[in-house]
Amino acid sequence: MKIAIPHALLYYYYFPLWDTLFRELGFEVVDTGITNKDILDKGSKAAVSDICAPIKIFTGHVIEGLEKADYVFVPRFARIKKPEYFCPKFMGLPDIIEGTVEGSSGRIISPIIHEKNNEDISSPKIYGILTEIFGFSHRELRLALKKAEEVFLRFKSLLHSGLTCDKALESYRTQRWEEDLKRVKKDGEVTIAVLGYVYDVYDSFISMDVIKKLEAMNVNIKTFEMVPTDIAYENLRHYRKRLFWTFSNRVLGAGLFYLKDPEVDGLIHVTAFGCGPDAIVGRFLQYESDIAGKPFTTLRVDEHTGEGHMITRLEAFVDMLKRKKWARVSHGI
């Protein structure tokens, strides 16, 4: 039996978990691959025109997955931390897919992820739907999930020790866990915190490899996954009310954490056109960086963004940071 995991949205964060789970259960896992023009076109054609690029890309990957496999994995993310939720589009994701992708009905596997406080989403309760559809025993499922959780925790520890998501995913695929830690770049001239959801920052089609471009400019990268959840939340304590979306809170919390970190020279907020939660997160990040006095810029990207103008903006920002740092060092401040 083949199951496809769309290479979009929270794939970048949870792939090791899902991959291990399905392999342990005896599935053949199909990865729909890095986003390309074809996938994007398929997605944009099927999806509603006003919806954000990540959802369009996800739709494209689902169509791709339906061609290559028997089933496609489309989880319904409702909450992983009380009292927060996910963006409504995540909560209605299987509904969106059923409404826009023809022939998807009955072929998408959609467990509901509705947990009180469990970022590892590996409780057997969630995946009970698999035992119903495919007839696994609960014991098999539990064993597979245990294995999956171990892998995911290992993956997370790599993130916390400073690897970016795509490098950690690489380690998972090659199974060279320890060696890869040495690949953390620490010798750059300046350090920039690149803040944004995993599906914006790592999708090479949306963000056009912003991280690789920055690293080529001799920049150290920090991202929100490197900040453990509890530390991110610790930084949000002065707000009257937290945001409603778990990953937005983590991005904002990590942003505030990096604003206090003297090592970090500037912040870049990577966001998709039409992203609802980011309209709020961006506003707060901007406001807080003004107060902290750290340079902040927003990269808003969609399926039409040109690469040239993005490089220009990144170069300008990095040059400014380097000059600022150089001036500070030479004046001995």
């Binding site: 999806a47 409702a78 939720y85 409504p88 909560m91 969106i96 409404g99 707000y239 506003r283």
Partner: protein, 383 residues
């Protein structure tokens, strides 16, 4: 306290609320292009249109002297619940330190904060008086909504164009002056008579066109942002019903779940045929109302949403499927500061023509699908 509030729908109700609590009310002006411009200027670019409009309204109310702004909060996952905090943040950065923004969140989220807000708003009016007056207000909303529903049924068939709207404006002025419950019932009867005395033409039942308006609460309820869609449709000879009325909203949201009307629960159940869980905003209700309108014999649906509204985008994704399976034409209109009236008017007229033809049986299913396709293509071009 000089109190003001966001402008949405029947604002005389909110005005009455604060008058009953013996505040000095600064009536926010009806949103205009200037309100929109002010809001757009100071709001995050990708916030939805309700946030921008309310921002503009606040700034205009502050110009008129408001010192306290009262609004509602929420607990997600729709962005609207965070608007209060975003507004406060913007007002602060604009230097309005003396303006207080009171945000009412659901009491179960934070009892203490809720109680503090209630005490502030109560303004020292003794409790028995408050309860009595709130009951009057409850009835006030109910009667006003009943009259509005009548207006929507009479307007399409009026003989003298514009008369119903004129009477409706008079009714609102009359309601504005009401002080007690006794007065309310008297004025209500008067107004009913006024409406019934409007001369109308006889229209055969099979020639009547009924359209249900569904979607996000602000763009559905506030006529200045949806270009007075009810009036436009009424003038085209179409009976209109909204999915949302203030009275029903109060019953559905402020009354405890166990006491809520059965109708609300049924609508949610119908909506869950397409959207399995509650995803915030009015997405599930919107789908439920579409199905409900069809079952009640409506001919078409107009779906209004702010551009990039999170929950309504889920609904919008499902509309082609629902339209096909439930067999009802649906026109989906995203609204933002760039939306032009002429564009909207053309599309509404075309939609009404389609409904008329369909009712007369002159159209085949193919045409309906084609129309939806054209509508989709047009949206791509316009946006």
């Amino acid at each position: 306290m000089k109190v003001s509030f966001p402008y949405m729908g029947s604002t005389i109700v909110y005005k009455k609320l604060f008058e009953f609590l013996e505040h000095e009310v600064i009536m926010p002006p009806k949103p205009t292009q200037r309100t929109m411009d002010l809001g757009v200027k100071y709001s995050p670019e990708f916030a939805c249109i309700p946030l921008k409009m309310v921002m503009g309204t606040y700034l205009e109310a502050i110009e008129k002297g408001a010192k306290v702004l009262v609004t509602s909060g929420g607990h997600g996952p729709c962005r609207a619940g965070f608007y209060g905090d975003t507004h406060r943040n913007i007002l602060k950065s604009l230097g309005y330190d003396d303006v207080e923004l009171i945000i009412f969140d659901a009491p179960q989220d934070n009892w203490k904060a809720f109680w503090r807000n209630v005490q502030k708003i109560r303004n020292g009016v003794p409790w028995p008086k408050v309860i009595n007056r709130m009951y009057t207000l409850y009835r006030f909303v109910q009667k006003l909504d009943e009259l509005e529903k009548m207006v929507q049924k009479i307007r399409p068939y009026e003989i003298n164009k514009g008369q119903t709207t004129q009477v409706w404006n008079e009714i609102q002025e009359k309601f504005d002056k009401i002080k007690t419950r006794k007065e309310l019932y008297k004025v209500y009867e008067e107004c009913k008579k006024m409406l019934l005395s409007i001369p109308t033409k006889e229209v055969d039942e099979k020639d009547k066109i009924r359209v249900g308006i569904v979607g996000e609460i602000y763009v559905v309820m506030e006529s200045s942002i949806n270009f007075g869609i009810e009036e436009i449709l009424g003038n085209l000879g179409v009976e209109v019903e909204r999915s949302l009325y203030l009275f029903e909203w109060i019953n559905d949201n402020l009354v405890p779940w166990a006491l809520r009307p059965k109708r609300f629960k049924e609508i949610i159940k119908k909506g869950q045929r397409y959207i399995k869980i509650l995803i915030g905003g009015h997405a599930v209700e919107t789908v439920g109302h579409i199905i409900d309108f069809k079952e009640r014999g409506f001919d078409g649906i107009i779906h209004l949403m702010p551009f990039a509204c999170l929950p309504e985008l889920v609904t919008q994704s499902l509309i082609p499927k629902i339209s096909k399976e439930v067999d009802i034409p649906i026109l989906s209109l995203p609204i933002d500061e760039q939306t032009g009236k002429a564009n909207m008017l053309t599309r509404i007229e075309a939609f009404v023509d389609l409904l008329r033809n369909r009712k007369k049986g002159r159209t085949k299913e193919v045409f309906v699908n084609e129309f939806q396709q054209h509508a989709d293509e047009e949206r791509v071009v316009v946006v």
